[in-house]
């Protein structure tokens, strides 16, 4: 319960920081968008239109009241933010859920395999280091070159008809999911593998070997219980990261998710949309961290008893 309250406090802090921070920063979104040649009258007009002429605390207060009532405000383009977000959130969640479903067994299997067998480890760890170092769009770019340009198997751009779900044309999902999966896999495999290596080198596993325990027993009784808490944390955080961190992949393929919306909103200086998105992604992230903490306590008998 305490961690839930802490996270809630952090979320409030975050939303406040976003509000005030954007206000305090030396740049001015309105002047920056309109250009240096814009007339003062025009700037004042745009500021008034966006509500930027009111004091920042007053704006924050009315925004919070709105959010509590389920109203995320009105975007600079005049549309309510909530309606702009509704489809997009679903698309992004779909993307991350599909990726996560593939990520969980793959990362666990590869990581334990890498910890188990040295020859496999070379390839897996080397690949993971490479993928973990590069931005998603680099991976995505390479995938486009191979699958869309050379082999022509899949579309390079995820064109989804307005109002329909990406599920109606599953082929557009393949490359975005694959890009996210590879990068997420690299990170997850690195963390899970290092945990599994630690377990396999520990005295109690050696004791099990000396007692003639079978490979399956060692895996099931020693490796699995020790690695699972770590793995669950990684999966949760990675999964949420997909929703927010898929910005680059969504932009790369033009996938209609929240990441793509976020980028276009930043470009047009559409603050209400940016604030709403940061709130949603931050909340998801903090929620996942709380869940991850709970999962660790649940999966670790020592901590469970200590409660």
């Amino acid at each position: 319960m305490r961690e839930l309250l802490t996270s809630l406090g952090l979320l409030v802090l975050l939303s406040f920081a976003v509000f005030v921070g954007v206000d305090l920063l030396p740049g001015d979104p309105v002047t920056a968008r309109l250009g240096a040649t814009a007339s003062p009258a025009r700037i004042a007009e745009v500021r008034a239109h966006l509500g930027l002429d009111r004091p920042v605390l007053e704006r924050y207060g009315s925004w919070v009241v709105g959010v509590l009532q389920g109203d995320l405000g009105v975007s600079a383009s005049g549309r309510p933010v909530a309606s702009m977000l509704s489809d997009r959130v679903g698309n992004s969640v779909l993307l991350s859920v599909v990726t996560l479903v593939l990520l969980v067994p793959l990362s666990f299997g590869l990581a334990v395999w890498a910890a188990w067998q040295r020859s496999a480890d070379r390839v897996i760890s080397g690949g993971a280091l490479l993928l973990v170092s590069v931005p998603e769009f680099v991976v995505a770019g390479a995938l486009v070159l191979v699958f869309a340009v050379s082999l022509r198997w899949l579309p390079a751009v995820s064109l989804v008809p307005v109002g329909s779900s990406p599920l109606s044309t599953p082929s557009v999902l393949v490359l975005p999911v694959l890009s996210l999966l590879l990068v997420g896999l690299a990170y997850a495999v690195r963390v899970i593998r290092s945990s599994a290596v630690g377990v396999l080198a520990s005295p109690h596993v050696e004791f099990m070997w000396l007692n003639g325990a079978s490979r399956r027993d060692v895996l099931r009784q020693a490796v699995l219980p020790a690695v699972l808490p770590v793995a669950v944390q990684v999966w949760l955080v990675t999964g949420v990261g997909f929703v927010g961190g898929a910005v680059l992949v969504e932009k790369m393929f033009g996938y209609p998710g929240i990441g793509e919306l976020l980028v276009s909103s930043v470009r047009t200086g559409d603050l209400p949309v940016v604030q709403a998105l940061v709130l949603i992604i931050g909340a998801a992230m903090l929620g996942a961290l709380v869940l991850a903490d709970w999962a660790v306590v649940l999966l670790t008998p020592r901590l469970r008893v200590a409660r």
Partner: protein, 379 residues
Amino acid sequence: MSRDVGAGGAADLGAGGAAGLGAGGAAGRDGLARDAASAGDAGRAGVVSVAGDADRAGAVSVAGGAVSPEVRAGGAVSPEVRAGGAVSRDGQAGAEVPRDGGSPATQRTRRHRQDRAARPEQDGKAWQRRLVAGLKRGWWPLALLTLILIAPELAPHAATDVVGLPYSTQGLLGTDHLGRDVLSRLMHGGRPMVLTSLAAAALGTGAGTLIGLVAAWWRPFVLRPWDAVAAVPGILVLLLVLTAMPNRAGIVFAVALASVPLSARVVHAAAAQVIGKAHVEHAKVRGERTAWILGREVLPLIGTTVLADLGLRFVMAVYLVAAAGFLGLSTMSSDWGLLVVEALPGAALQPVALLAPVVGIAVVAVSANRVADRVGEWA
């Protein structure tokens, strides 16, 4: 327990990975993936230090002890990447980390044994020799860095010059959709990208070190507000700051802001160990000023940790700066991220224009990771 499970409570879990995750976990996947190593740092720093490394005498080795298990674990893997899957060049790292890792505990005892064996010859010269050897081993990334920095002077054309027809094969790498020379654009784009990343990494690590030191000296509570920042993926921080400051200073500031929470955690973990030591207590009793103690008694002992962290922040900075270019939010005319976007529509006609920046970013990112590993090993 709550979030402390992640923060520093490695001892409670006994699993370095889990603890590391919490520290970086808050950072979101973006920061995280690239921060796998740093997250590990924080976690391992916790594990190693809580276990009490009293046996390890000497300033540098204490600070190094906090970081190196993770860094070394990485180090043992990476020579293969460099050598293209060949046998590990670096016998030392390979020998030290059998099966690539081992538990923190076994690694520790192993290093203890080595330390004991090596101690008689461990004078100033041996240290220098190791530094030189480290530089030698790190020549490749350094040469790459130099090459990138001087490349704009050598480029055959300006970044925006039209030299031929669009998508022609003129020049080494052909031309792009506006008929500009891809090679020249690539050469011009490297320097601003690397310099921006360096500035951002230095700023982020600097501020993070300051906050980490204050947190270690005063109250860990100082780190709490930064958890809110850490909960936002780095790419989001970047977008947010660029909404208000759409210029290069904005990129530097955003990347620094995204790195501060991670740096602060790593430095806090390392500094907390040093602050309990006798010489610091002695300085306190002597009545030295806090700033003096932190700067003269604490900071030198965690210098290696800070340097290794700087390397990791640079990796993250390259990622974010390239991402800014990719998203069209950079002000540089031939940012490598921008080159990727521009090459996308014509990828079928001119695949090299897409391949070149993709390979370029990958090479810079991987070698920056290698340098960060190396710095950790100097300890």
